[in-house]
Symmetry: C2
Subunit: 400 residues, 2 copies
């Protein structure tokens, strides 16, 4: 048996652990009395167009082609539509930032990442991740035999620290993962950061003699509030691979549908794409679910009602600030990253449990002293939880 895999399967992630505790606690004292902010499972339902499109496909399309194998990289027509959509929505220049022949449909963003990393990495390579980061990055990278090198973001703003990134690059650096809008901070990296990072990576690639691939993990692309601008990184940096998913934007996390788009400006783009096809084959992904491939092609640009998350964010941010928590209002995703009033965030989360508040300590995201609040919950849960947050704040004020 493989002991590493046993380790990964038996050590449940911290987030899952809290979620399971919450389920048990809800059974004890009632669902409405436990304030579970642990999981990033969207509470806003998929929009009606999802049901309509799926039913329409089932009613009208020949079942043999609807449910049959597509090409391993995804149906050609679907890939064409995705590429057209990307060009129309995101391309700010004259040369294309996508191609139907460089798009590879996947079972969600996790598969997009594992296929991309498997295509790129060799044993001994290094991949940079900006802390705090989604904990599974480490699992995905280390499975390939490469190592994850964490580079802290600027404390406070949680924006990339270009000097630290530059310091971390060496000849072994094969890739950097960027996740904006970010899980767990909700921060959207401003365009100036993307421009700075692109220049840095271009220079560094040249100096180390091979491209540093930028892997843009973008499941939260559409989840931004106000007039926030999300840079489409292939416009700025040539060696970019975009990993995308409908899990969050259309509230379909269980359906596992997404894609990888290799920028045509990438060095050896065609070769990388073939390596991606090889990786998907070796990992056992055959093709992305055909029904959801066809659905995706019909619903490009559609999202769930994102305004519900914005309302949650506003209520929570105002209240937490009022109670004395140190919180910056993020522009995207559905996470708040709040400074723990004590340095030991795990201890703080244990205390919060006494108030039935289930929060995730930042340690698992690669930084200390913060907690993550997933606010993709029903508004009522936010409202009902406020007295608990207030009491928790008071506990620490009194303690001081």
């Amino acid at each position: 048996m493989n002991e590493k895999m046993y380790g990964l399967g038996s050590a449940r992630s911290v987030i899952r652990e809290i979620f399971e505790y919450g389920k048990a606690r809800k059974a004890e004292i009632g669902d409405e009395n436990v304030f579970d902010f642990s999981l990033g499972n969207p509470s806003v339902p998929a929009p009606l167009c999802v049901k309509e499109t799926l039913c329409d496909l089932l009613e009208t399309k020949d079942p043999v082609s609807l449910h049959g194998y597509t090409s391993a990289q995804g149906d050609a027509e679907v890939r064409k539509k995705i590429s057209q959509f990307i060009e129309k929505e995101y391309n700010s220049e004259n040369t294309p930032v996508s191609s139907p022949d460089l798009i590879y449909l996947t079972s969600g963003a996790a598969a997009a990442l594992t296929c991309t990393l498997t295509a790129i990495l060799n044993k001994g390579d290094e991949v940079l991740a900006l802390a705090p980061f989604f904990p599974e990055y480490r699992v995905f990278v280390e499975r390939t035999g490469a190592s994850l090198v964490t580079v802290p973001c600027k404390s406070g703003s949680m924006r990339p620290d270009l000097d630290l990134i530059e310091d971390a690059i060496n000849e072994k650096t094969a890739a950097i993962i960027i996740n904006s809008p970010n899980n767990p901070t909700g921060v959207v990296y401003p365009e100036e950061d993307i421009i700075g990072l692109s220049k840095l990576l271009s220079k560094a690639s040249e100096s180390i003699g091979h491209p540093i691939y930028l892997i843009a993990d973008e499941p939260y692309r559409e989840l931004v509030y106000g007039d926030c601008f999300v840079s489409y990184i292939p416009n700025y940096y040539e060696n970019t691979v975009v990993c995308y998913s409908l899990s969050k934007s259309l509230s379909l996390p269980g359906e596992r549908i997404g894609y990888v788009s290799v920028s045509p400006r990438t060095k050896d783009a065609q070769k990388l794409y073939l390596a991606l096809c090889g990786a998907g084959r070796a990992l056992g992904f055959v093709c992305a679910t055909s029904l959801f491939q066809y659905m995706m092609a019909s619903l490009l640009g559609k999202t769930s009602d994102v305004s519900a998350y914005e309302e949650n964010r506003d209520i929570l941010c105002s209240a937490l600030a009022e109670y004395g928590f140190s919180v910056t209002k993020p522009d995207g995703a559905f996470y708040l990253f709040v400074k723990s009033p004590i340095s030991d965030a795990k201890k703080f989360c244990e205390k919060a449990k006494e108030y039935e508040l289930l929060l995730v300590p930042s340690d698992s995201f690669g930084v200390e002293g913060y907690i993550r609040i997933s606010y993709c919950v029903k508004k009522e849960q936010i409202e009902r939880s406020l007295p608990a947050f207030k009491a928790l704040a008071e506990h620490y004020r009194k303690g001081e």
Copy 2:
């Protein structure tokens, strides 16, 4: 970039190569004039209950739970129903051969195999496969750092050769893959072979000091004709892991839904199951598509109209025998494995192309001198192809 993955992505499988040739040729001379027997893509449509169940789920189930994340191993209720079904249909003894807590839902049989192999194997391990075998076994095994050891079946019957299997086992042997009903031969291993193999493996496991896991790859379980009996291997051999899929039985190959069932009689079953969960996590499968998980729970035991394949088999077997081909009528799956009239099967398949017959040479399945005919096509294609088969046979008769 990873050169191995590039190799896997750029070297298209022989089967895909023939299939692509067929598409181009059809565009030239018309669909009805090319007799493509290359792919195992079911031509019998999914039964109506598939559409009905999916529409019903979409109409009645709350979208947040229908499309939300399930547990990584699959929804608990779905796993319970699968286990109950297995016990009812296949258990011939008193102790259970399945458990809801040892079932892991996957994106089809390919994912079931890659997760299982990743859970079991360490670098340097050996896995036995009985030739001829599904070519992707080699890709899946070698990706883990283990090696595939091929053991030929008995020529003619294409049944397992127990003596050769015994000879192939050594201390490095970690697993054996069994695929009955078989791709590419259509052979269903008789119960006496399973009993003999089980005894052999039990003895060998004891002698080498660790269990040899039997991986039963069963996507064709329900595709059998007449009163053919398919042994459920966990009834015979304790260390069995069953990999199952709805791709063929319900004609849903593009939807990627299946499961792994670890037999509770397996040594360290719980530990193996956790390693499986770890493998799924590391490879990026999050959970099997939730919509299809729920559908599966409602449709256990349902199949497409398998009698259409039986009819195809009968027409083709009679005709080929009449034309002088050496063909044994197989009991299952939808493949005929026919002896090539010349020793070079590739050359024979090239000649067959001149008659617009697209057949797969056996070399890619690990044996020489045969061709595989996938007869999961429309009956009309079989009927229209017969004169071509006859002319091909005559060509070789004349040549003698």
